[in-house]
Symmetry: C2
Subunit: 339 residues, 2 copies
């Protein structure tokens, strides 16, 4: 009887060891992304509607999803975005995917979190060009929204804090687990090809992981753009200095996440790098003083493409119609025609 128990125990131990050997998570500077834990499903659903609702803009035509398109990697894939009345934006729209992991929001970090960010574009005259007051008036005039806000927030009156809370709650669900690289990190040695693995080794050995690390492969620090050589650009953006007012922070930008980077072209705060090859070449040169060969660049790009994870997976929300009391959009103001 004792012998039997011992044998069973040894067998179980053997199995456990075998399983562990196959799935031992790797200790790397990049960490896997875990699936989002939804705290308040009702708030997420409300936030999803708000994210897709163009009535939060002056024109009635621009929603969060216009520039952070969830069909396209959470970006608009433009060098700089198109704002109200086709104004040219000053900076490249960063992806909303995995943005909850960022140390702060916007390239210069001027919003401390997603909630603080969400109100910005709505009221920015160069983006959605609305006001928070009008946004609330719109929502307040639509009974289905009123009801949903009441259910989620247990309050009668809608305010902008609830709007940005709900949008942030939805955005927190926009994480992209299960990339090939994460499968490899979690112990599946066959998840990466030799070329992809060579690319990752070079990425790490060259020092890229000094800034591009953690679960988001970036997003967790501000770094100077142009460490070894100055970065040449037409962009007027100066980064963190605009927030900190510290001269040392001039040209320091939030390190972008490299998750889903295959989908978030073009690259850099000025959107000047059209391809991943361009971006890798420039980063090597101005940040690390390295000139990668075409083969090396190709390997790094192959690695970077393994960072594409599971994209947002949900039904297109349908919004309740406006009512006779809803302020109407104003896409073609009469005075604008004179400009």
């Amino acid at each position: 009887m004792k012998a039997q128990i011992l044998m069973v125990s040894l067998f179980a131990l053997g199995l456990a060891t075998a399983v562990a050997a196959e799935t031992t998570p790797k200790d790397e500077p990049i960490k896997p992304i875990e699936a989002a834990v939804v705290k308040d499903a009702g708030m997420v659903e409300l936030g999803k509607k708000l994210y897709f609702d163009p009535r939060l803009s002056k024109s009635g035509a621009i929603s969060c999803n216009s520039c952070h398109n969830l069909s396209m990697g959470g970006t608009d894939n433009l060098q700089t975005s198109i704002g109200d009345h086709w104004q040219q934006g000053p900076i490249n729209a960063p992806t909303v995917l995995n943005s909850s992991m960022n140390v702060a929001q916007f390239w210069d970090g001027r919003a401390k979190d997603l909630k603080a960010q969400a109100g910005g574009p709505i009221a920015n005259p160069g983006e959605m060009a609305f006001t928070h007051e009008l946004a609330i008036k719109v929502l307040d005039s639509i009974p289905a929204y009123k009801e949903e806000f009441k259910t989620v927030f247990k309050k009668d009156a809608i305010d902008i804090g609830m709007v940005t809370d709900a949008i942030a709650a939805f955005e927190e669900t926009l994480v992209t687990p299960d990339s090939k690289f994460d499968q490899w990190l979690k112990g599946d040695d066959k998840a990466l090809s030799e070329k992809e693995l060579a690319g990752y080794k070079l990425f790490k050995d060259s020092g890229c992981t000094a800034c591009h690390n953690g679960a988001a492969v970036g997003g967790n620090s501000f770094q100077k753009m142009g460490v070894v050589e100055p970065y040449k650009t037409d962009s007027k953006a100066e980064g963190l200095v605009a927030v900190s007012k510290q001269d040392a922070d001039r040209f320091k930008f939030k390190v972008p996440t490299l998750r889903n980077v295959e989908m978030t072209y073009p690259y850099f705060h000025d959107g000047a790098a059209k391809t991943l090859e361009d971006a890798v070449h420039t980063m090597g040169q101005i940040q690390l003083g390295k000139k990668f060969s075409d083969e090396e660049t190709g390997n790094i790009v192959a690695f970077l493409k393994t960072l594409t994870g599971k994209q947002p997976d949900f039904k297109l929300p349908v919004m309740a119609p406006s009512t006779n009391d809803t302020p109407r959009p104003d896409p073609f103001p009469k005075d604008a025609a004179a400009k």
Copy 2:
């Protein structure tokens, strides 16, 4: 034994009669909408991606869904749409919902079907401002699209006919069954309130169903806008005459569907009627020579709101990224700045 069979038969007959009485479809000028029958699911999925893909526009920012937003009743809820470089469109964007039932497409009927319509906006300089050649170049540069076209069409080379076939196949699925009114039509007498029923009776007795009939409650004929009184508008659109070149067709427009009309504001080809009450009032006056009282208008509006059916119900499509060979969007052409 015989008696038993007879009794069972009588009982069955009684049951059948009772069921029939509850669900006898009503014989009305408006017919229920049936759910879409998908003939080729692969083609529908491909068409859905194309419908949402802004890379079919010059700017990289305008997709079919921009002006025919499936979160918002298949329209943009603007008086006239916003085209490339914020150009003001000449006419109100009709809903894509149930558009497969239209006798022809566009307000003037210049496209005979959805396939013929789908190519129009892509190449219209005032809308998506692209060319069919460039659209094909974009799709051809993206391996996932190439593969999907090949699977669906069994051909190696993508052409614009396949693109418009796929978009049309997706649009054919955008029908909205199960409205309250359809439940009533199918025999559920309790589906409509007294007010809604009074509204429908007035709608029918006033002659509205002369044009707004069939499953789409419109969409199946061209009628003169301004039968009893001329319609006053700033719009330069003249309707069917532009296609037929027959003087008698001046100001004849395709009768719009009233399905989901609560969601497809503002109304008429010039988008001049902001509310359903406005639209009912004007139609009564200029088409029928009737002046509806506020109560009558209210009843008709209550009926019209029962025409809102089941909205499109599908997952937001995710598109494969562009490659280094994909023509890049051009939202801010250098020569346009001089304009």
